[in-house]
């Protein structure tokens, strides 16, 4: 269990993190979203015990990070932004050092070490010096050190940054596997990742927590929630279809992409336009190649929440 209460960090007159409170339970994968400089990294650093908050409290697995930092840190596996490590050490030496400080000894230590090396496919570079490795390998070394003591709480600052698509997929699978009985917090600015790994997403903007919901519920806030998209085979009835759609009582607005022959019918708030639209398609025999119902566009929600003027921000 992670619990933050009124967490704030001020640097002089600048407020980096402003009164953030949330609770994360085991089994949850919490995604931290937000524009660059919004306070994601600062918040994670305060939970991991690197930065002291100006006010507020954090507790991890029942240990207060400020009162009992060593115990709290022992429960956490943390990968800082950019996955720093000691460049002059080999991967194996580095993992040994971390295992030492994590209190792993003897047989247990070698078992955990070979587990993380296997999990992150580090075997081919285990005896190489870290600073000679590619960015993708270094990132995986950072993940390996965070996992070596099989922590209850995993905090990963941009875990897939700099990885190729295959490696990204691997890391996401790893997070999904781990999340069954653990708490995972990941920060990201890749929105597709939220779908792939998170059970819950928090949006931070200008140091404030502006949304806290499941990815699905966040999408439902999109004006494209339940919108219907039609792709035409030819532009034969394209203009007529656009008019007909606009005339439907359920439809608020029709957006057209005339080059790709795509129409998107945005419904009025709360309205369901799909049955009426599919009836139109059938009756008029429009040359439709593709028709689908959108669940919402996360990037659009993200933009509208993080760019909204402060006064109209939604506070949950």
């Amino acid at each position: 269990m992670i619990k933050t209460q009124g967490l704030s960090k001020r640097y002089g007159a600048t407020v980096a993190v402003d009164d953030i409170s949330f609770t994360v339970a085991p089994g949850e994968v919490l995604g931290f979203l937000g524009p660059n400089g919004a306070g994601k990294t600062t918040t994670m650093r305060m939970i991991a015990g690197f930065i002291t908050p100006s006010s507020g409290t954090v507790s991890v697995s029942g240990h207060d990070v400020l009162q009992d930092p060593v115990r709290a840190k022992a429960c956490i596996g943390y990968m800082p932004e950019g996955a720093p490590s000691y460049g002059e050490m080999t991967v194996a030496e580095f993992l040994d050092f971390i295992a030492d400080l994590r209190g792993l000894r003897g047989e247990q230590r070698s078992r955990r070490k070979s587990t993380v090396i296997e999990r992150l496919a580090l075997a081919p570079v285990a005896d190489q010096v870290i600073e000679t490795l590619s960015k993708g390998f270094r990132r995986r070394v950072g993940l390996a050190q965070a996992l070596i003591h099989d922590p209850q709480v995993l905090i990963l600052d941009e875990p897939t940054d700099g990885l190729d698509p295959n490696q990204k997929h691997e890391v996401r699978r790893l997070i999904n596997d781990l999340s069954k009985d653990k708490i995972v917090i990941v920060s990201t600015h890749i929105l597709e990742e939220v779908h792939a790994v998170c059970t819950r997403a928090v949006i931070i903007s200008q140091g404030r927590l502006v949304a806290d919901d499941t990815p699905r519920a966040l999408e439902a806030r999109s004006r494209y929630h339940n919108a219907v998209t039609l792709r035409f085979d030819s532009n034969a009835q394209f203009a007529a279809a656009r008019r007909d759609l606009q005339a439907l009582p359920e439809v608020q607005q029709v957006e057209a992409d005339e080059r790709a022959w795509v129409l998107t019918a945005v419904p009025k708030p709360g309205a369901i336009a799909l049955p009426a639209i599919s009836a139109l398609v059938m009756n008029n025999q429009w040359p439709v190649a593709e028709l689908h119902l959108e669940s919402g566009r996360l990037d659009e929600v993200f933009r509208s929440i993080t760019q909204a003027p402060a006064a109209s921000q939604v506070r949950l």
Partner: protein, 244 residues
Amino acid sequence: MNQTLSVLRRELRSYFATPLAYVFIVIFLVLAGVFTFQIGGFFERGQADLKSFFRWHPWLYLVLIPAISMRLWAEERNSGSIELLMTLPLTLGQAVLGKFLAAWFFAGIALLLTFPIWITVNYLGSPDNGAILAAYIGSWLMAGGFLAIGACLSAATRNQVIAFITAALVCFLFLLAGFPFVLDFVRGILPQSLVEAIASLSFFTHFDAISKGVIDLRDLLYFAALIGFWLTATALVLDMKKAD
């Protein structure tokens, strides 16, 4: 204790992971030899002791010890690994102590490698080996003092060059405080008690006493207090500006 040892081992190994350590030891040994035999006039003095060796140590350390201490924390800051170290389950004190001890042991290794000079003087005559041992201990303690100052100034920056220069400067002030011409100068302005306080802050005053073979509890306390003070300052500096 275990945590301190883990940090110490890693740090000490990292010195030898690059050619830096070997280059440092070679320079230290060559300079120690040059000072002892050429400038110190080891043979000309015709005495079976190592005075001409030890009396140059403060000056050698002034240049060489900041070169050891500059990377202690500045490099951690620069590479970002400080964030990793500070979020592992160890206290700030354990990290500060572990890193300092590694640097101090490294300085000790360099110092021990000057043993051919000790063999030489024993071959040529019959020196007071007790006094030589005392001087070695005194020299190592002084190295610890220089290193503790260097550790603190290294913690304050992410730039190793700045860490080197500021450490050399502060160490230089600590050396100067014992010089007769400096003391004569301040004697004109300050009351006698303050002059003595300044003189007693100097490395020279205390190192001189030990290098003559007299291990006085006060001199040991001086170095212990000096190291303790600067390491506490290191921890405070780190605590205040961890993320900068």
